[in-house]
């Protein structure tokens, strides 16, 4: 369960950490706090110098002009350095979307990004299966052993001193098996294509970049941010082994991925 601390008569904070990005979520509404506690229970953080996020503050936005701003179906996100403000957050699903958007901004300086991909652990390494909706991410997850799925929907990838790692996220698709808060070195990335037989085809870095880009979660139209993103993705595609995985909907696909 995420750690909760009462900080004033009107608000309480929930501390979470996703991909080693720490956040303190400051709630003014008990209902939203409770649903967030349940949703992020496996991603508990500790009070620290993370991003301070205020939700639905009755006092409204601060006067400071934000470094990044985004509107999503009536909800409004503003982010400046280590402080974020969410407004008009009606429920946990909107909160989840805003946290994803915030993460894409916060991860970039840390050489990280979010990708529509399933990440599955095998032999101590993460196998990342990338694809748009309907490509088979949840299918791949459902055909993998229980407890090995970091996420079936949105993978968090970060470059560390020892190479690229995949982190579990609380962002799930159809599989909905609950978050797996851990990280593993990336063994490879596989662009999904459903087929009549299992077959693996090596991808050149440019082909991998082409496959990944439509699946990257990114919301900034800032030129500098886009350049930084392209740098991170280029580094990833040149470092990590990439493949096109033609697979049929059977667990036998693992035979061509990892024996």
């Amino acid at each position: 369960m995420g750690r909760v601390q009462k900080i004033s008569a009107d608000a309480r904070s929930l501390y979470i950490s996703i991909g080693n990005v720490s956040m303190s979520l400051r709630f003014f509404e008990e209902r939203l706090l409770r649903s967030a506690q349940a949703r992020y229970r496996d991603f508990s953080g500790s009070p620290c110098d993370g991003i301070r996020v205020t939700l639905n503050d009755p006092a409204g936005f601060s006067a400071a002009s934000p470094r990044f701003e985004y509107r999503l179906r009536g909800s409004h996100l503003r982010f400046s350095k280590r402080r974020a403000e969410f407004r008009n957050v009606p429920h946990e699903y909107a909160l989840d979307s805003l946290i994803r958007i915030l993460l894409t901004v916060a991860l970039l300086p840390k050489d990280g990004f979010l990708l529509h991909a399933a990440s599955i652990v095998r032999n101590g390494k993460a196998y990342v299966f990338v694809g748009r909706s309907g490509a088979g991410k949840s299918t791949v997850a459902s055909l993998s052993p229980v407890g090995t799925v970091l996420t079936d929907e949105i993978s968090l990838l970060r470059r560390t001193e020892r190479g690229w790692r995949a982190y579990g996220t609380p962002f799930w698709g159809e599989f909905r098996a609950g978050g797996h808060n851990a990280s593993y070195p990336v063994a490879g990335i596989y662009s999904l294509a459903q087929a009549a037989e299992n077959r693996l085809e090596a991808s050149q870095p440019k082909d991998l970049l082409r496959a990944m880009l439509p699946c990257v979660l990114f919301f900034s139209s800032d030129t500098g941010a886009n350049r930084a993103l392209l740098d991170v993705l280029t580094s990833f595609s040149q470092t990590v082994a990439g493949f096109r995985l033609h697979f049929k909907k059977e667990a036998s696909f693992w035979e061509v991925v990892a024996r």
Binding site: Q204, P205, K206, L209, R210, L213, P214, F218, S220, S221, D222, T223, A225, N226, R227, L229, L230, D231, T234, S237, Q238
Partner: protein
Amino acid sequence: MTVSQVNSSSIFRRNPKLAWREIDGEVVIISPDDSILHELNETASAVWHRIDGESGLGDIAKSLAEDYGAPIETVRADVEELAADLSAKNLLLAREGEA
């Protein structure tokens, strides 16, 4: 800008809003406004690298023809067609005062 509006003296610069990198010897470009990925092949990438906001397309074509050992007329036509295409996609901007 259409091909008919482009000639050897036309001068272009890269759109400064773009994010682009070279990977495997080929240029990939993201236009932040629409998040579209554009890919240039090897020869188009060679043109892209020579676009500097000062050189005319004729000079760029001449440089390429020398490097690749190709007929200058053929290269010039290809460069002008490419510049028109990239300009239409807002990846290249004609220098002020250019047709």
